[in-house]
Point group: C2
Chain length 478, copies 2
Amino acid sequence: MRGPSPIVPVILAGGSGTRLWPVSRDSLPKQFQVLTGSHTLYQQTLMRVSDRALFAAPLVLTHEDFRFFARRQAAEIGMDVTVALEPMRRDSGPALLAAALIAQRLHGEGCLVLALASDHVVLDEPLFLDACRAGAQAAAQGRIVTFGIAPTEPSTAYGYIRPGAQIGTQAGAGGARTVAAFVEKPDLATATRYLAEGYLWNSGNFCFPAAVLIEEATRFEPSMVAAVTEAVETAGEDLGFIKLDARAFADAPAKSIDYAVMEHTRRAAVVEGRFRWSDVGSWDALHELAEGDAAGNATRGPVTLLDSRNSYLHSDGPLIAGIGLDNLSVVATEDAVLVMPIDRAQDVKGLVAQLKSERHNAASEHLKAHRPWGTYQTICRGERFLVKKIVVEPGGRLSLQKHHHRAEHWIVVKGTAEVTLDGRVFEVRENESTYLPQGGVHRLANPGEIPLELIEVQTGAYLGEDDIVRLEDAYNRA
Amino acid sequence: MRGPSPIVPVILAGGSGTRLWPVSRDSLPKQFQVLTGSHTLYQQTLMRVSDRALFAAPLVLTHEDFRFFARRQAAEIGMDVTVALEPMRRDSGPALLAAALIAQRLHGEGCLVLALASDHVVLDEPLFLDACRAGAQAAAQGRIVTFGIAPTEPSTAYGYIRPGAQIGTQAGAGGARTVAAFVEKPDLATATRYLAEGYLWNSGNFCFPAAVLIEEATRFEPSMVAAVTEAVETAGEDLGFIKLDARAFADAPAKSIDYAVMEHTRRAAVVEGRFRWSDVGSWDALHELAEGDAAGNATRGPVTLLDSRNSYLHSDGPLIAGIGLDNLSVVATEDAVLVMPIDRAQDVKGLVAQLKSERHNAASEHLKAHRPWGTYQTICRGERFLVKKIVVEPGGRLSLQKHHHRAEHWIVVKGTAEVTLDGRVFEVRENESTYLPQGGVHRLANPGEIPLELIEVQTGAYLGEDDIVRLEDAYNRA
């Protein structure tokens, strides 16, 4: 069906939504969270394009802060990805343009790009692949294809597309049509009319020849193309990441691909996806996606309900017990609980803004902190001590460092640690411990093949994260 | 005013309610929890009778499981108490009878007993003391005085008392009256009528001469008196606790003092307490007691609300964030969250029964476990390891013990540990650690004057609490 050009999946994973707080936070946003099933949304997106007969290896565009998540979560599912880093957020126009330029370098001038959001839920995978094939077919004919979804309800949360005439000879809804109009999120009455008139939801996923996107963008946004081209041409390489040049990329106007190109180009087309889809924009979407019980309750994690209905209960840890709940959302993590009527899900963003202004840690930080080498989590805090669980991924190396105000005890509970202390290098194995005196120059690394887990007990008068002198760092943070 | 007989406060602290789950659990019930102010209800009760010009040192009746809480929480507020242990629950009749008999032994045959529940909230302390004085005055005239509370609403949660004629010459509501009738918890219509007719809530607190209670109980419940007298006469002494004899006490019929004595005796009197009072029977009571904000919300702990009203938010740890709440209760602890409309507070008991049947740990156990020597809390759990924070009170000694399946690392973060390991005794100080190999016979003790805090990291294939061989124990648990 499609030509010889490879389809290069481009995964857009730089977003940082707060509408799914307390699970999604600035420090680890929703695409990297497990919200449905047993994989993160980002992993589910990668798995959706894992058929190498149809797709090339994915290219991931993400923000610098998330680069190690993007790589690690891909590795967890055995996917080899190229990760390009946006030095700052410039909306989807510059991101897709950069992706098109990088895809051409990696896969040739004639490659097709399938641009997918990393934080959407797609059910019915075969129907998704059908749509990809149809999109690629239209793209191969020079079209910039956007995927529309047949609405199941008059949603006011999505933009809509009014499809035009069939393109080419292929009949049936699987074929591409022209785009008569893109329309903004409507009110309920308008949405109801759109539903009756055959409009489609605009899913924000695309398929296009890299060259055509660049050509059309050059026509409508020449300064964007100039800036992004320079950012790609002068991109650095850092630990295997493609690092777009910050100064050049900063010059690109922040515009969505819809505003920058789609609303102007004559080469737009729409392919109707027949799969069930959600952009998981808020907690009510997860309630809708979940298969509820007879009373309409959907639960995730440890939940016990008495006499409750139409409610969404989601726990990442604590037991949630509900009595007499109706149309309520309860989302609990280890350090925060959100309670609201389901129809107030749109107000979470404002709540998080308030929590930030009140300087609650839980507003933007997770208890577990992610670092290039692995993770750490404070599990106990006292007056003059702090206990952390540290996980170092295989091959991970913390910086060579020292602390002025604290001493550290390390007890290895899994794997093997390679410890450097004042020039001496030695191994600490499972069920062994070592002591790092205040001021000692030390480094922790995992030389093994399995994650290293250790318990760190810090003691001292000052235990802030900022009491660290990095003398050398494998991740260029020194 | 009162005669030379001392007033002996008897604090009944053996209850184990679940209506305030998840804060109150079998392992540490509500009287030992901080629910209002900064002290536990038990401590607040003790503090209420701390005026030694008016009251003798308190006698505490509690269940064996709670003996160390009863002593430690009293010590925390500098109160010296005698603690008598009920070997099993036999309701308030046998408990008060035992208290009367013990009070006579400690303070003479003529002593007066002021029997107080340990889990009530009393506001307006001076009015409480006024009522105590009035009660003691009537008791000194041979009366068994029950304290009635002027109802503020037609509550269906309390039993009522219909007061009779004034006793003696003292006029005014502070004086005692006879009891015309005790009546059960009414329905709303009846409660409304009671309110209009001047009935009082039955608070379940009493004042009586020890000898009179024993005399009247002998008249109406001779077998109870025989059993309890024997249990007191053959009581053992264990680590300074008075331990009622289990076999004898088991023979006492389980009856409340109301059923056993008050409803039959001609010596009953009622003194009206003018203080604000609650038996804190359920979460809605705490909402009523709290001073709400302008929108009627009462909060405790970290809480942020948007657009919410008439709600009760109580956190012992996690941040609670609510949007659009109305008449909702949210109670969050580190391991469980309860959400319900405020008017469903009576259903918590049934919920806990369900949680127990589903074998949720959080149904009856707290994360922090209390032991005679102090506390421990699991702060991190992994596949082959477990991390605990252990606090040993000054003078506390764990049992001499060994584990078949686990090794332990101890890192002292505060205070000084005296460690016994295979016959050797040594000290481990702040910021030092030691290692206890699998099978090593060891003991931990705190020889110092401040609490000893340490982090224990257990490693091994099996880490259950039951892998413990106690060879010797200061608290007779070996």
